[in-house]
Symmetry: C3
Subunit: 437 residues, 3 copies
């Protein structure tokens, strides 16, 4: 089970290109926390991996929340006196305040202005704004475009519906040898924003595709859900199932050029925290490990105190820390094939260690076993031993049922793969067995 | 309950002036571990706060110690051949070896000299010396004064009594909602020394005065006691009561210009240790936190292994580390109004956190509760959240009954006051309740 | 029980000279893991300390290993065409591959060469090589000597026997007041190598000699054993006895000029780890403390997971890190009297702390006991206390049955000896008693 090796066997640039093409294919769709944009997005994911779609009716109580009305939009514009569209939803899904109620009216600029959202500090970018839980309408546009609007009357049209319907999400479940689960969660509710989070859902889709070809120790559950309300809805409907989650990752913002960031689970010392830290520290020098905080992506929900699941969050640049965040500048140029692919490889390396990180028992624990008679040692004494023999000695000495292979790798400074290979060889030679939990 | 805010509401310089005036009023009194100097000092404290005075008879066994004879002194001098007083107790209470037995004799300088104490390294200062447990007599004077003494006979007169009597101490008890206690202890046995410890007893007196106006979570016990023997006597007579002490502070040497020092309790990780560290690290950059050591002030007794109480010690300069320590240079110029007031504010801030540092339970712990519908969130999504919302998320996420508000403040980096305000608001909104112990 | 003091009472240079002379006496003997070289070495140790010799028959199963055939050698050489010995065992025991099977043959240089071992990077040194568990023969020589060998036939003669016999080891047991044991182990299987490990066995021998004159708290077991197979053999025959081992040290490579290194036990926090660290950090600034690793000397066996004994390893330079390691350059000039003696002193200081490092109970734990009435305090108050009084306060405050004297020494920064002296004095005064386990 070497996800990383598997990824290597394809042309690298090809894999990155495919990730970027997939993101590009999804980019124009106007997604929100409910509606047909989500459904179309899940359809495209479902062309690549086996996806179970859930539809949860408006009004359903999910813990402290209620599933909202379903929002759909066909068109939206602001027309000036000349009849020309000065703001046009057809040009970008960002131009409408997400979840705008329907409106059709004519009004002077002064009345329109409170409904316009801009970014004065980046006058050419369009901001991304939402109003899910307060009935409102509005348009987002660049600050320069707004400054160019002349006094006079404007025709306002938002051809949306906000009606009882459903909240939609998708799940891909891969059966492993154990019913213990690894959760991989990506939010899919943002409209035309590339890094946040077409990057995360693309990497998750490809990871699921790669894992579906493998014999797996753990079962894997991939969630493609609307942010916040989607995670809460899934948790409310699967409260029992959360007890099987042993490790989890939220994937978000993994396509940009920033250094990797891993935000630890609320527990702070979960195995996923150690594994992700280990992977990011191995030759990815500028990566940063962040302590848990309750603001962020859907780890907020998985790590709420009632659940406190061992779920961390893998990002490149951190939300809110880069100017392109939640603006039209988070576009397909802001992410690139190579960065997407590297993120997929990091996920693969994390999975690889989770799969292999078992504890073993030395079956010959009194003194060292005689490796020489099994062909596992040098025959002429007096000169140095190599890293292979050293790895065997480390695995034998610390395989007391309490130390995992990652413990041994960290303590010895020997790469995890070499430690795992030593453990397999010693198992084959009858000197080691997997520890029972 | 904002002691600090309360203090702010008075004129700052006025509060400091009052502290200094109170110290100045007490300065001339010749205190010792027993006697009328103590009683007069307690009388003056009792004019400001409600004080219960205890008188413990000479000879009372208190653990390994015995309450000593009571010492009182009216006059003392050394007269030269001319009949002029060359050393005169009336000029400073330091001039007599504290606890000197009565003596009236004439003797040549050579016989007198072994009874004279000076400080050659500070030839103009008078040292403070005591002989509580060995019957002795003597005088303290500046080294230059001693060098000026001519050969010849001197009349020695110490008009003291050392007789069965009492050891006296005072207690101010403030009832809180809980019978759990906070102990504030100051030694009051030093004669005309300003920093050690008129500063500590003045700050303690004013703190008690401020707290007596408040609705308090904890009960507060202020002890005004002779050092060592007084603390041991109080402990011996209140062994059961010590079980109610949850937090404690010894206040000593808090008027000089040095940086703050907090010496941790023997436990090292008591809540008072964390609170005092937090307060001193918040914008008082040069403060130092010291590990416990068994030499020092009365924390020696509270932290003896049989009690091991959570009692630390707040000082500015540390005993024995400044040249003025235990000399006549520790006078009213060595302390000043502003420094006394700052020490009182630090005490207030510590009390403020102790009072507010509770643990809470999130009543909606599965996923985040929907803050928006309660007016606790922004309504337009996509832009940044402020520190108020952030504080609410931190309090909700970590209010699992195990984390205190100080835990949350430290972990989040958000000021304690903002965290406490968030907790109160969330309680008001029905999302949080105080955790039961 | 001051081993260090005892050592001081002899002439320093004399003690170092004796250590070096003893090593020099043993140097020429051709030792191996079995055979008469071991027996002669143990005989010479037995002239200095009481030694029990064990003989374990070839073929005995010891855990995963089997005691090998016994090897003895009388002579070995390679003769050139001229009849001159070009390689001669009589010149150095290193010239023969240790455990070479007997051989007598004539062969051309080309056939001989695969049986010759040299060190091209140090062309004048002879390497030390062994082949214990693969039947083989060979010679070791300097690279320059090999290059000088001319083409032609050579007579090869190794007059060795490899036959059923015994594995031999020696034990010196010193009875202490407790049956709890301290284990000191040195390997004695290397032929003419001075630092590895005539240094270790000499220091161990002298330490046993010094300790045999003392009243001891612990019992001490000194093992003089062949490396690896000897340690495993001893462990297999004394599995029960290992439960009495409270502390242990492997001594190896303690005669060279390098800085001290202490390699911690597998536990990492054993008392021996703390004691050795403390001793090496006290005024031996360049010493280094190493974490446990499963490669090294016989701590590999004592710290195998089935035993996990609290046994560390004291060295100067670490095996394999200096060029002279396992070569003819590890000769009597590579070790010197002063370094051997310093190593013995370090061992003495470690033993000294192990012997004295008890936990005590303060018999007057409520407040401080009144030291003054017992003559343990200054009588005039007001000036500083010295380190002796400070040590008493530290011992009294932390003698709660949980803190050892080493805990107190480390926490206070007061030297262990002063802490121990304070504890003894307080015991004499009835204020302290040894804590029961």
């Amino acid at each position: 089970m070497h996800i990383e090796a598997l990824a290597d066997s394809r042309s690298s640039s090809e894999l990155g290109q495919q990730l970027h093409l997939f993101a590009a294919d999804l980019y124009p769709i106007c997604r929100s926390i409910t509606g047909n944009g989500i459904r179309r997005t899940l359809d495209k994911i479902g062309e690549r991996i086996s996806l179970k779609i859930s539809e949860v009716p408006t009004g359903t109580q999910v813990f402290d929340w209620t599933v909202p009305k379903e929002w759909n939009i066909r068109d939206a514009y602001v027309k000036g006196a000349s009849g020309k569209r000065v703001i046009d939803f057809a040009r970008s899904s960002l131009h409408v305040l997400n979840y705008s109620m329907p409106v059709h009216a004519t009004m002077p600029l002064a009345m329109l202005k409170p409904h316009l959202f801009t970014l004065p500090e980046h006058p050419d970018w369009v901001p991304y704004r939402t109003s899910y839980y307060k009935e409102e309408w509005g348009f987002c546009l660049s600050h320069n475009e707004m400054l160019a609007l002349e006094e006079g009357d404007y025709e306002i049209f938002i051809d949306s519906t906000l009606e009882p319907g459903h909240l939609t999400y998708g799940e891909c479940f891969l059966h492993g040898r154990s019913s213990d689960e690894v959760l991989i969660s990506s939010h899919i509710c943002h409209p035309s924003l590339a890094n946040d989070n077409l990057s995360g859902l693309s990497v998750a889709t490809f990871l699921a595709q790669l894992l579906s070809e493998r014999d797996l120790r753990y079962s894997y559950r991939f969630l493609f859900i609307p942010g916040t309300i989607g995670a809460i809805t899934w948790l409310a409907r699967n409260q029992q199932a959360t007890e099987r989650i042993r490790h989890g990752l939220v994937l978000a913002g993994v396509g940009d050029a920033g250094a990797f960031h891993y935000k630890k689970s609320r527990r702070g010392d979960a195995e996923i925290d150690r594994v992700a830290t280990y992977v990011l520290n191995e030759g990815r020098g500028s990566a940063e490990i962040l302590d848990f905080s309750p603001y962020g992506y859907d780890e907020r929900q998985y790590c709420s105190p009632g659940f406190n699941l061992p779920v961390g969050c893998l990002m490149r640049s951190v939300w809110g820390t880069f100017p392109e965040y939640h603006t039209s500048a988070d576009n397909l140029d802001f992410i690139n094939p190579q960065q997407l692919e590297e993120s997929l490889r990091v996920c693969g390396a994390i999975v690889d260690i989770l799969e292999g990180n078992q504890r073993y028992c030395n079956l010959s624990p009194f003194g060292e076993p005689q490796l020489g008679k099994r062909g596992l040692y040098r025959s002429t004494g007096g000169n140095k031993i190599g890293v292979e023999i050293d790895a065997r000695l480390w695995v034998l000495n610390f395989s007391d049922g309490a130390h995992s292979l990652l413990d041994i790798a960290e303590r010895s400074g020997i790469p995890f793969a070499a430690i795992r290979d030593a453990a397999r060889l010693l198992c084959d030679k009858g000197l080691l067995s997997v520890a029972q939990d």
